[in-house]
Symmetry: C2
Subunit: 223 residues, 2 copies
Amino acid sequence: MKDSQNGPGTSLIDYPRPSVAVDTAVLTVADGSVCVLLVRRAEDHQHGRWALPGTFLRERETLADAVLRCLREKAGISGRVPRQLQVFDDPARDDRGWVLSVAHVDVVPLAALEEALASDGVRLAFVTREPELIAGLPYGHADIVAKAVAWLRAAYAEAPDPGELLAEPFTLKDLRELHETVAGSMLMRDTFRRFMEPKLQGTGQMSDGTRGRPSRLWVRDKS
Amino acid sequence: MKDSQNGPGTSLIDYPRPSVAVDTAVLTVADGSVCVLLVRRAEDHQHGRWALPGTFLRERETLADAVLRCLREKAGISGRVPRQLQVFDDPARDDRGWVLSVAHVDVVPLAALEEALASDGVRLAFVTREPELIAGLPYGHADIVAKAVAWLRAAYAEAPDPGELLAEPFTLKDLRELHETVAGSMLMRDTFRRFMEPKLQGTGQMSDGTRGRPSRLWVRDKS
DNA sequence: TTGATTTAGATCATTTCTGCGCTAATTGCT
DNA sequence: AGCAATTAGCGCAGAAATGATCTAAATCAA
């Protein structure tokens, strides 16, 4: 790859360089709905508005590291596995200059967010129940949320709780309700069971203390 | 998104910035195999080696524009619809400095490459038949090729010839042979027909001059 | 204690899908 | 002209998946 005509011995790369930012949609499930984490902007630019947590890349920092640092610094949470979604490159996207933003998604269980949510600089937004809030986010963050949710749906259609939102062990009913929340629609009980059971690892245990007949308990397949 | 503590009135963004490059895997089908376009590096760095065409981003240029410019300048071809695959951010990936590379894929029919292939600075590599050539590409380009081919396979499993490789009109047999090449395996004739027919638009015409019984001719659905 | 309610897990009939095989239509060879 | 080879398109039987039904096992309310 790389440039066209650089003089002999050119080791530094003297081309114009964009600022590179990472923006992250932290998704979780709360109250039977998919939620995204927002932070109130502490910076001068768009000060006080709710937005996705984001930061500029530091020297030689990898994108995943920048995402995790940003979540720690701006939201006070510890990220899990940031995944790239897309690079947004609209030159007019940010009026401060030429900025490329690499959108990411990360899935974090609600329990790991509770502490951070005590701060009034951090909140959750219900993705489907608060469409106007999401649509009003600055910097085209609404597109990122949409991409993130689409990614989440695709991931949950493939495997049992790939975001590790459920505490182990769990019943197939727990798992199905989570997947229904993510999918936004009812899932057929038998079809779901037939698809997921072979992808799970059974513990010998049964649920109890719950209403109705006890159910087998499962954990995500570690293999 | 964006930085943490910038002084009042800061409109320029004074953080360290990486060089940003785009690298593109131009895929096509030739000789019944999936191929990727390589160019001989004209630059000092890795001079003369085969590599994917790539370039550094110019001021305020979008990624797609950079890809199309790069294909025009380095390979002498006109790209179609560049799609982002992934950002490669390994700090040690390029020994010239801190470089982020945004990998892209574009699908171009062989006919649109023939002219460029006359040059000895441009060639095709058979993705499956020349594994050692692909594996030996510099800058981790082998990973990009792998991602590009995976993307191509996924796209061709969903829709009839999404890369628009076939000249219209075509028969279902033409289409199936193309999809078999991309998939790298035989596809069941009837299953393929049942899946693709509703996604195609029929012309009233029939193929003729060909061996065997004439077949209906189709075009990709424009709706 | 007893019956209503809830949920789990298995069985079963029905629908849907898959892949084989038959017939039709054409070219090319003798 | 006639036969072999090739390909298209459709019908059909077997396979697989689906969604409903039935029974079992527990809690909760009276």
